[in-house]
Symmetry: C2
Subunit: 314 residues, 2 copies
């Protein structure tokens, strides 16, 4: 067994062992942190063979990953990475309860809008942080995650208020484990900014089966992308999150200069996994409706995605 | 050879031997009319084995159907049924030229909007009639067409002005051959009324893969159907075609009481055939844009359909 530099007083739990949980938990574990993975279907495999992260530039194997079948086995932790699909949020309160100590911090790495609010309602606002994962991962087998794209970035922030010393300490933990991590001053604004990208690209990729480059190469879909972005920006603004309208064109230009990118939602769709429709499209539309903002294209996209998702699961 | 009661002075040509052309031409030929079929890929088969119409209640075989490879072979006719896909409209003028005599009437049985206008521009307004085919057909093999649904109706009318004696005479020709055929006073209004149905159902069926019953069983898609109908009605009204907004709910209710229906566009899509996107969605949207009517859902549907059609043909 390889010597590991485990900080004696800092226990980390990872709830949800999809691609995101395996990747970020795996990085922290590989570089010596005490990381407890709460697993379901991957439990036996990870217990026996550990977990693996593969990409062009790295091949990580954590042979002795701490695998658990219940959070009661893990007990109170200092930091919990919440990485379950948002479709499993209703199960979260019961899973989190045994992990909570007096000062436990929860960092949700989930997609879309409303996850911090949901956790805050369960465990209290002051415990909650959020992270935005700009990364393309695919869990290709139990305990195995592949990183697809070259660049990646994790942006973390406090749910309420400005960054605190703990925010920077968590960011530092990720950084020393080789994760490019920045601290953002306004987490929810960043969530909206990410939604401006995810709403058109992830949504249209599922409806059309196309990657980002193919979407933007099609005149009609490029215009539709921009219009969906503008609807999202209008909702964000009505919710008090200041994003400039020019962001739409800027994002389209930036995406045109990227390598063709297959969105995580399309990967999930093709793999027959549940789609995080309510977090990415449903919740933003609801906020828009509350604020009296008309967003017919977002509404139509949401309805098409729900129908495609439902049809597949029948 | 079976005796046929051919009217000596009435020659009919069918241009385009897809499902619609084979069916209506086949019915007229079966009941003794002189019908010349202009064929391409089906030529050899129809020449050898004739054409066949199949449905629950009828099995028609026209063994000696008059098959031709060029309209020059056919020469001037009294009536031309125009049944090519609207995607082939650019080829029509050359195909029609040899068929035109001094009083030749053209009856377009094509889908969508703009076909009468197109023909009138080529051959003159006074020659043009139009027909709306409320029928579900599938050309299952060369020279073979299957009728899928139980009921069917052909509604014909003059492109410009009220029905004339000739309109009723043509309707009578169809009726005596077993086609339920009515004469409509306002053909273009009827076209818009049909579009109010085709735009949502044919469009959403391709995007989702669902039949009419499944579309209406989904809450979001049912609302979207109604909204697309209302956008279409608003455009029709702005174009001077008076359709009541209540038509949307009425059509949805009537469709809910129908047996599940797979649209012709979905059948074409699944069979890899070209979709009549511009005639059914493109032209109505263009009319709306000219009239200053906003139709964001129709616009989005058009863009998605174009992308799906293009992607498939690559």
């Amino acid at each position: 067994m390889r010597t590991r530099h485990v900080l004696p007083n800092f226990r980390i739990a990872v709830v949800g062992a999809g691609a995101i949980g395996l990747y970020y938990g795996g990085k922290l574990a590989h570089f010596g942190r005490e990381v407890h993975f709460l697993l379901r279907s991957d439990y036996q495999t990870v217990r026996k063979r550990g977990l693996r992260i593969r990409s062009k530039n790295e091949e990580i194997h954590v042979p002795n990953a701490l695998a658990h079948r219940s959070s009661g086995e893990i007990g109170p932790c200092d930091l919990v990475l919440v990485a379950v699909k948002t479709t499993s949020n209703p199960e979260l309160p019961a899973l989190l309860q045994p992990l909570l100590g007096e000062k436990t911090m929860l960092l949700t790495l989930q997609n879309g809008l409303g996850n911090e609010e949901f956790l805050a309602g369960q465990v209290g606002v002051e415990r909650v942080l959020g992270g935005l994962c700009y990364i393309s991962l695919n869990r290709t087998a139990p305990g195995v995650v592949e990183r697809i794209d070259a660049g990646s970035r994790l942006a973390i922030g406090e749910y309420r208020g400005f960054p605190q010393p703990r925010t920077h300490e968590i960011a530092w933990e990720f950084k020393r484990c080789g994760v490019v991590c920045t601290v953002v001053a306004d987490l929810i604004l960043e969530r909206w900014r990410k939604l401006v990208w995810n709403i058109p690209f992830n949504g249209l990729s599922v409806v059309t089966g196309l990657d980002t480059a193919a979407i933007l190469a099609n005149d009609g879909l490029r215009l539709l992308t921009i219009e969906l972005m503008e609807e999202t920006i209008a909702i964000a603004n009505a919710c008090g999150q200041k994003l400039p309208t020019a962001l739409a064109l800027e994002m389209v230009r930036r995406t045109q200069s990227m390598v063709p990118y297959k969105t995580s939602t399309l990967i999930d769709y093709e793999a027959g996994r549940p789609l995080e429709i309510e977090a990415i499209w449903g919740e933003p539309l609801r906020r828009g409706e509350e604020a009296g903002v008309s967003a017919p294209r977002l509404q139509m996209l949401l309805r098409l995605l729900r129908a495609l998702d439902r049809q597949r699961s029948q």
